[in-house]
């Protein structure tokens, strides 16, 4: 092993489209106050501390919170007791063209209150994406895993949809001790300022009887303005984050106990470093995925999204060898996270029996996409980032 193989490199993430890495929480409407184009997220400890002697305020607030009434508005109570909520704010985010009503906000993952991208999210998305470049004979393990799960269901055995691919993952990449991915190390990113984050609006495009519709609680509708919105904290396009990454030679070449990616993935050409190998694989997967999505959106006349994907394709075609595009995070959909891009109707028929919680139409699956809206108009797709390794 040569000495320089111990050195890590730096990665730079540039957010290309709003990127949402969901934490576990949804922030409820009583936890923030809207004023103008901003949401102020309250620090309840401070709010109570500063107003400890206003007994009726505490009582009224507690009553409102515990009743969970939909018409409960914390802003009204704060106004009634002349409380300057800005003195008890954790952080403030700008609404980025949000026009629909909402009662909760999907929280971005944070470390001690600071926005960042976890290494686990970046590495997980890289691994998911690379799985799509598996050679055909290895992809068959996923088909077999799906068939086995389907057979179990037919035999009235219980199948947990959370663990259908586990056997295939292990047959292809080995146990965690034998996995080549242990030679890929990705740190958490640096933290970014609050100004780098904002509040974004997402709506669900749903294909019904071959026509594009928009999901609403009252059924699928034609007018996107009336559709139900998901509102989430996300990072704005243009934001940059940094961290360290290390891709060892064994990730690609393997060794006595670990089989490298070279013999598993479809590649072309001679590559001088593990980083170039990874970038080439990810870009070829991204290109295939983007082109397929462009075909989907063209078919359903979503010109704005086709044009957004064309921009991404142009960026992809102009990347250097140390750069790649990747889609990560919340609302990026079934195809982004799985090997479903290779499945056909018969696979989805089986999947619909294995995963009964999801609505799976084998003729067209997935038939919905989550899209970002701005000022009431369809805007772009979430989660695309450009990664540069130096």
């Amino acid at each position: 092993m040569v000495a320089d193989s111990f050195e890590s490199k730096t990665y730079e993430i540039e957010v290309l489209t709003p990127t949402i890495i969901g934490g576990q929480d949804k922030i409820q409407s009583f936890e923030f106050v809207r004023e103008g184009e901003y949401l102020y997220f309250l620090n309840f400890d401070k709010l109570f501390e500063q107003n400890l002697f206003k007994d009726s305020f505490i009582e009224e607030l507690s009553r409102g919170l515990s009743s969970g009434a939909r018409d409960f508005n914390i802003k009204d109570i704060l106004k009634k007791y002349s409380i300057d909520f800005k003195k008890a704010v954790k952080y403030t985010l700008r609404l980025e063209g949000v026009t629909s009503p909402y009662r909760e906000v999907v929280a971005f993952v944070k470390s001690a209150g600071r926005f960042y991208i976890p290494g686990s999210s970046l590495k997980g998305a890289m691994r998911s994406s690379m799985t799509k470049a598996l050679s055909k004979n290895l992809l068959q393990f996923y088909e077999s895993a799906l068939s086995n799960a389907y057979q179990k269901v037919l035999n009235r055995n219980r199948v947990d949809p959370k663990f259908v691919s586990r056997d295939a993952d292990e047959k292809i990449f080995g146990t965690p001790y034998e996995s080549p991915f242990k030679y890929l190390r990705v740190s958490d990113s640096s933290f970014v300022e609050q100004e780098s984050a904002g509040i974004f609006e997402i709506k669900v495009l749903n294909i019904c009887s071959n026509q594009p519709k928009w999901f609403s609680r009252n059924g699928n509708i034609d007018d996107p303005k009336q559709a139900t919105a998901i509102v989430a904290e996300g990072l704005k396009p243009g934001v940059k984050l940094y961290g360290s990454i290390k891709a060892e030679k064994d990730l690609i070449e393997g060794n006595a106990t670990v089989k490298g990616l070279k013999e598993k993935l479809l590649t072309s050409g001679v590559l001088s470093s593990p980083y170039e190998f990874v970038a080439q694989i990810l870009n070829s997967v991204a290109k295939d995925y983007i082109q397929k999505e462009m075909t989907f959106y063209s078919k359903y006349n979503q010109k704005q999204i086709v044009s957004e994907y064309q921009k991404l394709l142009n960026i992809l075609n102009s990347l250097d060898k140390n750069q790649f595009l990747l889609q990560i995070g919340f609302s990026t959909g079934y195809l982004s996270k799985t090997v479903g891009i290779f499945f056909n109707k018969s696979h989805f028929e089986k999947l619909s029996r294995v995963d009964t919680q999801s609505k799976i139409n084998p003729d067209i699956f997935p038939k919905s996409r989550r899209l970002l809206f701005k000022d009431g108009q369809v805007w772009t797709v979430p989660g695309w980032i450009k990664v540069t390794i130096r």
Binding site: F6, G113, K162, V164, S165, L184, R185, T338
Partner: protein, 266 residues
């Protein structure tokens, strides 16, 4: 073998967590309402970095960096079903930087290659002593504390996503948040072995181990984000063995640096 203690290098510094740090406590916690996958804590509930974690990780990195990870240089520490499960490097080379700094055990050992090795004649006192690194409480600011799930730590959620169904399987682990600092102290003994003085040889090797650790990770889940650490505010002192016979006097550092990049041993 003649071994004389010439003196001690004492390295004092802070270890800064640049990403969340998870040094697991072995899941032996019986704390009611405690979270899965907790971090190791002291009697007052403050997370700390055990000297054993630091020393073990540094040794492992040095074994790779010094070219010692070979079947005929690895002794079997733990066997499972008769097969080697955990191996580490130990040898009888008196100039070995790994064994010299981190130590070797007495007696006979099985090598991974199948042969045996007896280290009885090669054993000298371990040069490196690593203290537990205590949390510097003020490094976790009030603003950070307001946003923490627990007194000193955060809970990080991760998802395993099934690659056929896309269903998420969440798991959680406790971490010390990035920005936390720990107060660390290391001692490198300087020996004269059979009239050969170590001089700064093992101190330099120890600094190499520190640099290797900065480019690696400490604790668990390091390949997916955790455990990037940096040594900061470094001070190196030297106490000659004769100093121990004097009345206490304030030692001056022989080297100081804000970070390892700036550290120069004169």
């Amino acid at each position: 073998m003649d071994v004389i203690l010439k003196g001690k290098y004492i390295i004092k510094c802070k270890i800064e967590a640049q990403t969340g740090l998870h040094i697991g406590e072995g899941n032996n916690s019986l704390e009611i309402g405690g979270i899965d996958n907790a971090v190791v804590k002291d009697a007052k509930g403050r997370p700390y970095i055990p000297g054993s974690s630091l020393k073990g990780k540094m040794r492992a990195l040095m074994e790779f960096a010094e070219g010692k990870v070979r079947d005929n240089l690895l002794v079997v520490s733990v066997k499972r079903e008769g097969r080697p499960e955990i191996c580490l490097h130990m040898c009888d080379d008196l100039n070995c930087p790994v064994c010299g700094l981190f130590g070797r055990n007495h007696g006979s050992h099985d090598l991974k290659s199948g042969e045996k090795i007896d280290l009885t004649d090669a054993v000298i006192p371990t040069r490196l002593i690593v203290r537990d690194a205590k949390l510097i409480e003020t490094s976790i600011t009030e603003e950070m504390k307001e946003n923490l799930d627990l007194d000193w730590t955060e809970v990080k959620f991760e998802n395993n996503i099934d690659r056929i169904t896309s269903k998420a399987h969440p798991r959680q682990s406790e971490r010390v948040p990035a920005g936390a600092q720990f107060s660390a102290e290391f001692v490198v003994n300087r020996f004269e072995v059979d009239s050969k003085d170590d001089q700064k040889y093992y101190l330099e090797k120890f600094i190499k181990a520190m640099k290797l650790l900065e480019d690696d990770y400490l604790g668990g889940q390091g390949s997916r984000g955790n455990g990037k650490v940096k040594f900061v505010d470094i001070e190196i002192f030297y106490k000659d063995s004769s100093d121990y016979e004097k009345d206490s006097s304030k030692l001056q550092p022989i080297a100081t640096a804000k970070s390892l990049d700036e550290l120069k041993l004169s």
